[in-house]
């Protein structure tokens, strides 16, 4: 009987040598004449343990050393029993790290396409109602209620409508979109198909950042299988409904994650942000009503349609319903993916899951919510992970990236970097951002070099004020979050 062994094919696992491990296992098994079935699964998200080798244990079956369960010094026991994993609530990530990502059979055997099956029996309004009832809010950053967006597109008459999946995942410190696309691409395809049915769109695009070639491969392989098995294309599963799906690549512009810039890019133009209104839901891609949703938002739809909006809504706190896949990164001992209901505190996340800093030094600051998120100070670590609680602290939950820094970080340099990043990535459409960020970078240089420090700090605050109030989009509008939070919480790094 063949032994099933899992070595992740996730690109982060590969970055730590998973391909070499997989090769070594295959070679060794052949040498010892052991019949193995090697599955390149997604990652469980326990990145600090990658490359992780999992063996389907059928006690007493094997004699090869590493298959011997508890005897090897590196053996960890059942993955499900590792507290980091066991304490999570995996709804969106239910299959990631467990199935063969591009096996449709595996997907269906693990409750895949149940949501679509239900959706095909519902009216469009009923599908939208399930999503509205779930309380799902956009996981791409702005936390806008997904059901409301879909409803607008549903109620805007048009012969052609579009579903766009925003897979630009430009936020540093985040990788949950990548893990879904590499580790369970069918769940995204299913979510987009349901979105198409719900609003009456027959064409979908996944706008994928070019930095994710492994995700591109997995998505294209899965899309091909979905077409071959009538889960995409015309007359889906005999329903008479059509949905076509295509992956399009970005080209290394952070601003193209902003939804209107993204649509410009998909239309083949420079990624200049559009004025709103009109909303994309009314006039979006090629001027047609368009749903733009983040990967995680769309990948959460199948379980909502499978188990019902109420099931999903019962997780979470306040107006933050369901689960949030958090991504622990930077200077933490146990980096990785933690999907859990809203409501846990940041401190619990950093210490109970993250295990504290990797360096063993005190954690000084944590940037939550990507490069436009505020630096969170120790005194704020007890804030629950909840959109409103974070907003009340002038912090941002965003796409759920959590990057920890130990006490060797200089916060003035982080503020300078934030300005530099904004200058580098600005689309140039509005003056506060285009000129203000470059000016901000120069001002930060002077502050760091102790040139007219006090005057320059006044200038920095006034620049931030202009950016906050005068920018067309959140790139310019939120760069003050990291800058001012660094200045306000860590004045000593600015020479105070």
């Amino acid at each position: 009987m063949s032994i099933t062994i899992y070595v992740s094919g996730d690109s982060s696992a590969i970055s730590l040598g998973a391909n070499r491990v997989a090769m070594a296992i295959l070679n060794e098994a052949e040498k010892r004449d052991i019949d193995i079935h090697l599955v390149r699964n997604g990652s469980r998200g326990l990145y600090w343990l990658e490359p992780l080798v999992e063996v389907e244990v059928n006690a007493g079956l094997f004699d090869a050393d590493f298959i011997n369960g508890g005897t090897h010094s590196l053996a960890l026991g059942a993955t499900e029993e590792i507290p980091y994993f066991k304490k999570q609530q995996r709804l969106t990530f239910a299959r990631v790290g467990i199935t063969d990502p591009i096996s449709l059979e595996d997907y269906v055997a693990h409750n895949g396409y149940k949501g679509l099956e239900n959706a095909l029996k519902m009216s469009q309004a009923e599908i939208v109602k399930q999503v509205t009832d779930s309380g799902l809010r956009g996981r791409g950053g702005a936390a806008f209620p997904t059901g409301i967006k879909w409803n607008t597109v549903l109620n805007t008459p048009s012969e052609q409508k579009y579903i766009i999946c925003n897979a630009d995942e430009g936020d540093s410190g985040t990788f949950s979109d990548r893990m879904i696309m590499e580790g369970d691409p069918f769940v995204l395809i299913e979510g987009m198909t349901i979105a198409g049915l719900a609003v009456g769109a027959t064409q979908g695009y996944i706008y994928l950042r070019v930095e994710y070639p492994h995700a591109q491969k997995a998505l294209n392989a899965a899309i091909k299988k979905a077409y071959e098995n009538n889960y995409l294309g015309e007359n889906i599963q005999g329903s008479g409904k059509t949905f076509n799906l295509e992956v399009r690549l970005g080209a290394g512009a952070y601003v193209c994650g902003e939804e209107t810039s993204l649509m410009e890019s998909l239309e083949g133009k420079r990624g200049l942000v559009r004025f709103k209104p009109p909303l994309p839901a009314i006039s979006g891609l090629f001027g047609k009503p368009t749903v733009v949703n983040n990967v995680i938002s769309l990948a959460s739809v199948p379980i909502i349609l499978d188990k019902g909006g109420d099931y999903y809504r019962d997780f979470g706190m306040g107006r933050s319903r369901g689960t949030l896949p958090l991504q622990l990164a930077g200077n933490l001992k146990h980096t990785g993916l933690v999907e859990i209901a809203f409501g846990l505190t940041l401190r619990e996340l950093l210490y109970d899951f993250g295990g504290g800093s990797a360096s063993g030094r005190p954690i000084k600051a944590v940037q939550v919510g990507g490069p436009l998120g505020a630096f969170v100070h120790e005194s704020q670590f007890d804030t629950p992970l909840d959109y409103e609680a974070f907003a009340a602290n002038w912090t941002v939950l965003g796409h759920g990236g959590v990057v920890a820094f130990d006490d060797t970080v200089n916060m003035a340099e982080m503020a300078r970097y934030a300005m530099e990043f904004c200058a580098e990535e600005s689309c140039g459409k509005c003056t506060p951002c285009r000129i203000g960020s470059t000016r901000g970078f120069e001002v930060m240089d002077d502050i760091i070099n102790n040139v007219d420090r006090e005057k320059n700090i006044v200038l920095l605050r006034s620049l931030c004020d202009t950016l906050l109030n005068g920018s067309l989009c959140a790139l310019g509008g939120m760069t003050p979050y990291p800058v001012l939070s660094a200045l306000n919480h860590f004045p000593e790094d600015f020479g105070a």
């Binding site: 982060s12 970055s15 730590l16 540093s172 990788f175 990548r178 930095e211 512009a253 820094f405 130990d406």
Partner: protein
């Protein structure tokens, strides 16, 4: 790489194959860069003609996106992550080491044409910082200066 075709033939084929897609410009530019490693300036008039756009528009798009390049890259391209998570794990020291080792700065190519160096703002490998990408598909995590040296030595640096 299409061996038998000249670059201009390659470009023509790509334009013909893709120009009727909605929003064809980015797929065409990707197609050309995938085949040739960069987008030669000689391609611009052909693309403009194929898509019925002005040369200025094509040029504007190429220059807007960091990923597209109009000069040939070295044999290998190294993308170093400059973003926050990698900074928190020694990314800046790695960056200095790489620049010193190769003797080039960002957007440059070594004299022997072997390596080009580019910055990148996150590779989605933040749980394994600091990270870098070699050519298109090889991502490395927890990269130390020693590991970097080993990687490029293997490539015959």
């Amino acid at each position: 790489m299409t061996q038998t075709n000249t670059p201009s033939k390659v470009i023509e084929n790509i334009i013909t194959a893709l120009k009727n897609q909605p929003g064809a410009l980015l797929p065409i530019l990707h197609g050309i860069q995938d085949e040739l490693g960069f987008i030669p300036s000689t391609a611009v008039p052909d693309i403009a003609k194929g898509l019925n756009l002005s040369r200025a528009e094509i040029h504007g798009v190429i220059s807007f996106y960091h990923y597209f390049r109009d000069t040939p890259p070295g044999k290998h391209t190294i993308h170093i992550c400059r973003a926050e998570s990698c900074q928190a794990m020694g990314g800046k020291a790695l960056e200095s080491h790489v620049k010193a080792k190769l003797g080039i700065d960002y957007h440059e190519t070594t004299g022997d044409g072997k390596f080009s160096l580019e910055p990148v703002y996150c590779l989605g490998n933040c749980a394994c910082s600091p990270a870098l990408q070699l050519d298109k598909e090889d991502v490395y995590g927890r990269v130390t200066p020693e590991l970097f040296d080993a990687i490029i030595n293997e490539l015959g640096a």
